[in-house]
Symmetry: C2
Subunit: 294 residues, 2 copies
């Protein structure tokens, strides 16, 4: 299967699995469940599920089990987007080419949609058999650490505090690693935990995920300035308007692009030392993250 066909397959099965794990809109309370489905279904590149599946497949994990891990990560991601878009945060009206959740519904519903999507992520990962129970607890820990106050939510807090304040490169990198990098890295490691990885492979995949995760956010910074809103599916130029420090404002466009390339090379080098037979899809994903146009 070529990369495009594999990607479409994983995206389709992620959509199907999410649709199955999310309560039906007909289940009470209907408006909340409708909002959860609106926020989680029918959009997004599904980068995190792709990473999870790519890492798990090469380690012999069953696709059905990877669906569970992938959906848990994707629900965390979806919750974070709903909350980040709220008026008290980034105050955005457009996401994945659609009105944001609080615009389509209302602020209170969007708040609860995010809250309940986070809960459901942990519920699904606790209830569905993906590994032996002890390892499943370790996966829950991994997901919580990546998304909690020292991971994604912490990165968002630093992001808010940085508005109008200059950050040096080290502080910016720390913020990006938390805000975006931690959950992308966790996606790779959750896929790996579903399969059979030795320490050498795990360490290499952890390095791969860290490099790719940071590259992803640098490219996001670049696209925010270089792409049109209709192409991004979200409002372009937001970082500059909000006076947020980014890799482009701190290092300049040329250096930001160069660093994304360096990180891609680091990700590929990590794969090369992983000892894995077939890291082609993971390598493709590193290319996708750096070369994407939206």
């Amino acid at each position: 299967m070529d990369f495009a066909a594999w990607m479409a397959t994983v995206q389709a099965r992620t959509e199907t699995a999410l649709g199955r794990f999310l309560p039906a809109a007909a289940t009470a309370p209907g408006r909340l469940h409708d909002g959860m489905r609106y926020a989680a279904l029918g959009g997004g590149k599904r980068v995190r599920p792709l990473l999870c599946h790519a890492a798990g497949e090469v380690l012999g994990a069953e696709a059905e089990r990877l669906d569970v891990a992938a959906c848990a990560v994707e629900m965390i991601h979806a919750y974070s987007l709903v909350h980040d878009d709220l008026p008290c945060m980034d105050d955005d009206v457009l996401r994945r080419g659609k009105p944001t959740c609080h615009v389509e519904f209302d602020e209170a519903t969007a708040l609860l949609v995010g809250d309940a999507l986070q809960t459901l992520a942990f519920q699904v990962l606790a209830e569905q058999a993906v590994a032996d129970p002890a390892r499943q607890l370790a996966m829950l820990s991994l997901l919580a650490r990546a998304s909690g106050s020292r991971g994604m939510a912490g990165g968002q807090a630093i992001d808010l505090a940085s508005i109008g304040h200059p950050l040096d490169e080290a502080a910016l990198r720390d913020m990006h690693r938390r805000k975006t990098g931690a959950l992308l890295q966790a996606s790779v490691l959750m896929g790996a935990a579903t399969g059979h990885a030795d320490d050498r492979a795990l360490n290499a995949l952890s390095d791969y995920g860290a490099a790719l995760g940071l590259a992803f956010q640098i490219v996001d910074d670049i696209l925010d300035l270089t792409q049109a809103t209709d192409k991004l599916g979200k409002t372009a130029g937001k970082d500059l308007d909000a006076n947020k420090p980014t890799y482009v404002t701190v290092l300049g466009m040329h250096e930001a692009r160069r660093q994304a390339e360096v990180l891609r090379d680091q990700a590929l080098a990590a794969l090369a030392r992983s000892g894995l037979d077939d890291g082609a899809r993971l390598a493709w994903l590193a290319d996708l993250v750096v070369e994407r146009e939206s």
Copy 2:
């Protein structure tokens, strides 16, 4: 140990354990961690930890393990209060006798405080040894179901949708069971799961928790109308001002009080058929919930 001394002991050890599980305010991002500690420490009756400990102790659970379960439930409760108080929800300025989190900090920080407290609840329950791994996964599932879209968050969604709409008693009961009852019942069951309960005891404790949980919210409805703000530690009269249906507005004060008494009797009857040797503390807690004045 008499009931008051036992209660003070559990409250103190819950405070200590929460303080240990919450990241230090000096850990970056400091403002977020400061907010999490502000929201979770130094206040509250700790009804959920009391229920968890009372149920666990009588089933032979170790106090240190019960601390973990109690803190996980209490973090979920604390997160829900922070989010419920936000301007887009109940828009309240006072909680536990202090300014609400978004008043003391800011709305964006309060949003992230709630988000990260939820995450930490699941992290702590996934990482600390409280039972064998399979049972620990079951406890994570129990906590998620009680707090998610069909539990607490769902009850909050129904509560919002009910503003200005008359509810019949059945709909009101359903809302209260989700909004408050589910997490109180889960507190009892998480304590029980940490110990050694047979099916008879578990079923009886489940019935006890359900009755007590609903009684708690009915008493909340009554106190909202009968107590002063300084006694409650939160703004009194909010339900009426917000035109929210409550047990008092739907059934009248007399019938609301009567139903709380009936539910206490049901809780005590469930204890009597549990087969447990010493349900005295659980019986006391049922009295406390119905007879409390704040």
